[in-house]
Symmetry: C2
């Protein structure tokens, strides 16, 4: 029987609470599908800073290196906001993990669920048409990792992209589009940036290998506008690191259901980091009311992308869908709901 080593980094705030539910679900689905999971926990983020002074301790990184995938909770909170940028929980853990494991590809689905269309902050005349976007974001290049510096009078950052970097993320977008609605919208600012001109040309060239897919180019400013006006026009959104950071959060806001949105960050050999799109939500941490669905769906993405356990992934997704249809959801989704974090996790397990 197959055996998977999973690094479980729950982090701060609601991280541990929602992670406990994802672990329950993972164990249940492994039993059912005949594989086994070996779950090893380690500290990350603020919890790691408190224990060892660093957001990503060597022991945590070592565990990740001997694991088949990383299941990540969420990090950060008011306690650590005064630290220097690269010592902060979010940046100090996520950026080095992305770079160390070459997690160049970030996938973030954004849905308006018909049952919960009213969660969307958009007008019903728009949200009723639905939204089903996959945001494909380049995650290890661009202005995040270019040369940067500072003098007594000014500061600079460099955005750099190579053709190779653009090609590999573009391929992911087109491959995804083939399995979805055959449309890729590539985001850039080619009227201003040289990196965007290269981005546009390269994406155009990659597109020639995918004749069934319609490719559209859109400026970032126009995209920020169009997502609000008619999100249903999009299928796969292909973005560089910075534009993807902005638009994926805009999409999450439009969906209105941050607690339901998972994400996957992958490299070229199937290794990945899986985490909810939302943050550590310190305001509700410890109350037992956090929504565990995004963390549970992140585990499903791990089964699909890192372990090739498609059937197990679908089992989880169907179980989640069943709970949603029965309105077994936490109060962020339905204000008067009496289901808490554990109850929702239990219901997903029961449905599996």
């Amino acid at each position: 029987t197959k055996h998977y080593n999973i690094a479980v980094l729950a982090g701060d705030g609601i991280g541990p609470e929602v992670m406990a539910e994802a672990v329950k679900v993972l164990t249940a689905v492994a039993d059912k599908c005949g594989f086994s999971v070996n779950l090893n926990t380690a500290l990350v983020g603020g919890a790691a800073i408190d224990a060892s002074g660093e957001p990503l301790p060597a022991a945590t990184l070592a565990l990740c290196k001997t694991s088949d995938a990383i299941l990540f909770g969420s990090v950060g909170g008011p306690k650590w906001t005064g630290l220097a940028p690269d010592q902060q929980p979010e940046r100090g853990s996520l950026l080095p993990l992305r770079k160390t494991f070459d997690l160049f590809c970030n996938l973030r689905p954004g849905h308006i669920y018909p049952e919960f269309a009213d969660l969307s902050p958009l007008h019903p005349r728009i949200s009723s048409k639905g939204m089903n976007i996959l945001c494909v974001r380049e995650l290890t290049g661009g202005i995040y990792f270019g040369e940067k510096g500072r003098t007594s009078t000014d500061a600079f950052d460099t955005q750099r992209y190579s053709i190779t970097e653009i090609e590999r993320i573009a391929r992911v977008a087109f491959e995804a589009a083939i399995k979805r609605n055959n449309k890729v919208t590539s985001i850039d600012k080619a009227n201003v940036l040289q990196t965007s001109v290269l981005w546009r040309e390269t994406v155009q060239r990659v597109a020639q290998h995918y004749p069934s897919v319609t490719l559209e180019h859109m400026y970032i400013d126009n995209a920020a506008m169009q997502l609000i006006r008619s999100p249903q026009q999009f299928d796969v959104l292909l973005c560089d690191n910075l534009f993807g950071d902005i638009l994926s959060d805009e999409i999450a806001a439009i969906a209105g259901s941050l607690g339901l949105l998972p994400s996957a960050s992958l490299n070229g050999s199937g290794f990945g980091l899986y985490e909810p799109a939302g943050g550590s939500a310190p305001d509700i941490a410890g109350k037992g009311i956090a929504n565990p669905i995004a963390q549970i769906l992140s585990a499903a993405l791990m089964l699909r992308f890192s372990f090739g356990q498609e059937q197990a992934a679908q089992l989880i997704e169907q179980a989640v869908q069943q709970c949603l249809s029965q309105r077994i959801v936490t109060p962020d989704i339905e204000p008067n709901s009496s289901y808490n974090t554990v109850a929702v996790g239990d219901a997903v397990v029961a449905a599996i």
Copy 2:
């Protein structure tokens, strides 16, 4: 009597149609308020490319240099999209104008008008609370104008900001906040960018001279989200060039009424370029149905910021408000409206 020389650059698409209305309104208000305007037209954008091969001909630039302000229409269209980036109508005219005249400060108000809240793509539970944001965008620095280049394998762009550049735009934001609701939200990505760290520190220091104003810092990704969730939390938004480009268009989308939104781009000596927030709308050009209000309100901003004619500016704004209240608007605002571009312009003149 005061006398003002205005460079009138109508541009492409609906530009000439809406400009004609703004010119009528300007002439009317000048008569009424006892100053005189000398309006000189010149080619810009695609129209200039067709006539002379360049989006910003020397003669046009020369006219701007001998004028007291520039009233700009809109540029661009499908005919010219195949050109190299710096030959394109938009970029090839606006960026050199901004740089030549040191127009470092872009002001873009974004409103949800109570009478037309339903134009907003947001859910009524949000749009009914209103929105009244002034976006203050740095316009001559950052990644737009930093060193950029390209090799056979990659490309780069540089974002650079000096303390001096940040200070001068920050001061504009705080001065504006004092006359509004005393809140500035400064946008950055200080967890990733060195320029953002400098931005945050500098804005913080400038804020000390404005003790009555509340300063808040927000990451760009979170801002893209918060604008959709609760736009009423914002008063003045302070942004660098790139983030301001994105968020000002997101705000325009949220307002839902692009045809009503003017903008001003100013330097330190009162010179400015005034233009509608929307584009050249080639799809409706020549039909006489384009909304002239954004162009008319841009003229009002010119009277206020470049000429100090506050009373004349308010006269225009009140006349526009009166037309809106009487629903004398083009079909983009009210689909069944029978008022066309000229009729709305006439109504504004009549109200003055």
